[in-house]
């Protein structure tokens, strides 16, 4: 049972040949390796303005001088950065004629996850008929946004169409020299999303990358920038619950959020990168820098994430609470199984007065996995009356896995009130037996218990996403108990 998911994943990747994909792929790519020439070429092929090239080059020069980070609690094999292709134009994905051609096991996974048919088609690479509903949904969706003056497009388009906005905000939250992977991303980022919410506008819909054409396959160095002007609101969703596999092992993304006065940004993500087989081979290394800047007074940024994927995850969505009365929230579920390693957490940096932050972290470790939570709460000298509450819970399944919690506090103002609570629990055999005795089999029992455990976080997700996330957790844990 433990390997059912692996098996499906295996099928998905092998399936390309078995189920008759053809390889009519127009390849437009640069040779392996990284140099100033490569970066110039990337920028040229993307048709970028001069400022962007300068930005990339400066990031690259910084990166050259940087040391690979200290790997925290992770055990990471050496990465050969000259063995990576940094530019490959979006290839036309091989298309299948209909859903009937899709690997039945892959389809079963989609059904289990409850992914809508249209989305299934996209994920499986089935050509979507132009008269299909989804297209008109998309069109209406874009029209609605345009009316409100909301910009939601790929970052590549934004660089060309809204260079001033991009220039003003890109790197304003995560500077190119922020850390090793941020520098690398800044030098070579391929694509990603750009969101701009004008003053006083509340986005009437949830912005989901699903609706952004060409959102799939944005590649390994994804870049997202979200700017919310005064009094605006947006809820942004990223990722999907379907298992995603990529031939690129290394993923280093950056997400930047800027919230101006009284603006509120909710960022939710469910990530299910291929974690590798049960021995940990072939999984994605996911190094992400996500940071939100509460720039204006009374602004609010909230991160919600459900992570089940990757062989190695290294990410700390953070909030810089600069505006007075601004607040940051972090809700996270990180599940690790088999040989996965996760080192996640958050940083809440209190700079303004009366700033508040809330952290709810739920780790689940199964198999031989290692799951670490690292949380930094920093209160600057000027930050009068800062408040933080952190709740970090770990749930262990079996006795070969590990959970570690590292709270870091840097408090430079005496008026700060910082509270940290941590618990570790185990799913007991007696709990499972109790459920069994009521007719609930072990897998459902684990599902019930795990979903109960993560409820607080899942409740933060938009409805359909929440349902998918719950199922995803159940599937990810299949066979890990009993």
């Amino acid at each position: 049972m433990a390997t059912e998911q692996d098996k499906i994943l295996e099928e998905v990747t092998k399936g390309e040949y078995k189920y008759g994909f053809y390889t009519d792929i127009e390849m437009d790519m640069l040779p392996k390796g990284l140099s100033e020439e490569v970066i110039k070429e990337i920028s040229k092929r993307k048709g970028e303005p001069e400022f962007m090239l300068e930005y990339r080059l400066e990031a690259y020069r910084n990166w050259l001088k940087m040391e690979t980070p200290d790997w925290a609690h992770l055990n990471i094999p050496e990465i050969d950065f000259q063995d990576i292709i940094y530019y490959a134009a979006p290839k036309s994905k091989p298309k299948l004629d209909s859903m009937d051609d899709v690997d039945p096991e892959l389809k079963a996974t989609f059904d289990k996850l409850g992914i809508p048919l249209e989305e299934q088609k996209q994920l499986a690479g089935v050509a979507v008929d132009a008269v299909m509903d989804s297209v008109s949904v998309k069109t209406t969706f874009r029209e609605t946004l345009a009316e409100k003056g909301i910009i939601f497009c790929s970052i590549s388009d934004a660089i060309k169409e809204y260079p001033d906005l991009v220039k003003k905000h890109l790197g304003s939250v995560v500077p190119p020299n922020d850390n090793y992977f941020a520098a690398l991303n800044s030098a070579v980022f391929s694509d990603g999303s750009f969101v701009y919410i004008p003053k006083g506008v509340r986005s009437p819909v949830e912005l989901s990358t699903y609706f952004r054409i060409n959102a799939m396959n944005t590649g390994q160095f994804e870049r997202t920038l979200i700017v919310a002007e005064d009094d605006s609101y947006v809820s942004y969703l990223e990722g999907c619950t379907a298992p995603q596999r990529d031939e690129n092992q290394l993923h280093a993304a950056i997400v930047e959020i800027v919230a101006m006065e009284r603006a509120e940004v909710k960022y939710s993500t469910v990530q299910n990168w291929y974690p590798g087989d049960k021995d940990g081979k072939g999984g994605i290394y996911n190094f992400v820098t996500k940071r939100g800047l509460c720039k204006g007074d009374y602004s609010k940024i909230s991160w919600t994430q459900v992570e089940t994927g990757s062989a190695i995850t290294w990410k700390y969505p953070s909030c810089v609470l600069m505006g007075d009365h601004s607040s940051g929230e972090f809700y996270s579920v990180a599940l690790t199984n088999n040989h996965q390693q996760a080192d996640t957490g958050t940083k809440m940096i209190h700079l303004g007065k009366n700033t508040k932050s809330l952290v709810v972290s739920k780790g689940i470790s199964a198999g031989k996995s290692q799951n670490s939570y690292r949380g930094l709460v920093k209160v600057s000298k000027r930050a009068e009356n800062a408040r933080n509450f952190s709740q970090c819970d770990s749930l262990l399944m079996g006795d070969k896995c590990g959970a570690h919690t590292f709270p870091y506090l840097e408090i430079n103002n005496n008026s700060a009130k910082v509270e940290h609570e941590a618990t570790t629990s185990k799913i007991g055999e007696d709990q499972i037996f109790y459920c069994n005795q009521r007719g609930i089999d072990t897998e459902s029992a684990v599902g019930l218990i795990v979903n109960g455990y993560v409820k607080e976080v899942i409740n933060q997700l938009p409805m359909e996403f929440a349902v998918e996330a719950q199922k995803l957790l159940e599937i990810s844990l299949e066979g890990s108990v009993g």
């Binding site: 109790y434 009521r438 007719g439």
Partner: protein
């Protein structure tokens, strides 16, 4: 309904059940009494399918099926219910969600449609009255922070909801004050039907004042050493277990 023949079970090579024979027919109430450590809870656990115990010999038929090979959830779906001596807490899982999952699993097994939310809530209201359980409790997580008495009531409430064919109540009376005891007993009596049966495990006679058993068995050292009518319970109450120990103790 239930037929146990020469049942032996052990844990870590320690034999705890040493040849149990017992027959329970529909409509009957059996009481199993015996001093602490005699194997009463073990018998209940083994019947429910707890894998901690290894069955080394014997057979158990329930509804004409050999249940020893069945997974615990399937035994439950067949209609076997155990009211635990020590009900466990399951934080984060609401009673409502738990019970609804449970009921629908049982219904699925019987090829019945799952209960809708409103049907389920209606059923719950009905059964709540029967065992006089606080609404507040059903909104909380399974057994979490329940008092001892509340846990026991909650077991009977679940029994009422699931309508099992055979209920094994393991010391459901212990730790209850007289009012709670009456409520529990009342619930059990009201749920009694000609086609279901109850096995009461207890070491006090007290409960048997309220629920009148058809048979009383004395379990000692992993064996049923004596069987009688309800007067046997009185005898035990009057004389304690010493005479049993003397008569049946290992020589």
């Amino acid at each position: 309904m239930l037929s146990i023949k020469n049942l032996h079970a052990k844990i870590e090579d320690k034999e705890i059940l040493r040849g149990i024979d017992l027959k329970v027919k529909p409509g009957e109430v059996h009481a199993i009494m015996g001093p602490n450590g005699s194997g009463k809870s073990t018998l209940a656990s083994v019947l429910a399918g707890n894998e901690m115990f290894e069955v080394s010999e014997g057979e158990v038929q329930f509804n004409g099926k050999d249940i020893l090979e069945m997974a615990p959830e399937d035994r439950a779906r067949e209609g076997l219910f155990l009211s635990f001596q020590y009900p466990v807490e399951i934080p984060g899982v609401s009673m409502v969600n738990f019970l609804r999952t449970s009921i629908n699993e049982l219904r699925k097994y019987r090829e019945e449609k799952p209960l809708s939310a409103s049907e389920f809530l209606k059923l719950m209201r009905e059964k709540k009255n029967l065992v006089d359980i606080d609404s507040d409790l059903t909104n909380r997580s399974v057994n979490e922070g329940f008092s001892g008495g509340e846990k026991k009531k909650n077991e009977i409430f679940q029994m009422a909801m699931l309508e099992p064919k055979l209920s094994i109540l393991d010391e459901t009376d212990s730790g209850l004050d007289i009012d709670a005891l009456r409520v529990v007993a009342n619930g059990v009596n009201k749920l009694k039907r000609p086609d279901n049966a109850t096995v009461l495990i207890t070491h006090y006679q007290r409960l048997l004042e309220y629920i009148v058993p058809d048979y009383v068995h004395v379990l000692y050292h992993g064996r049923i050493v004596k069987t009688g009518g309800k007067e046997l319970a009185h005898e035990l109450e009057a004389n304690g277990y010493d005479w049993i120990k003397k008569e049946f103790g290992d020589k």
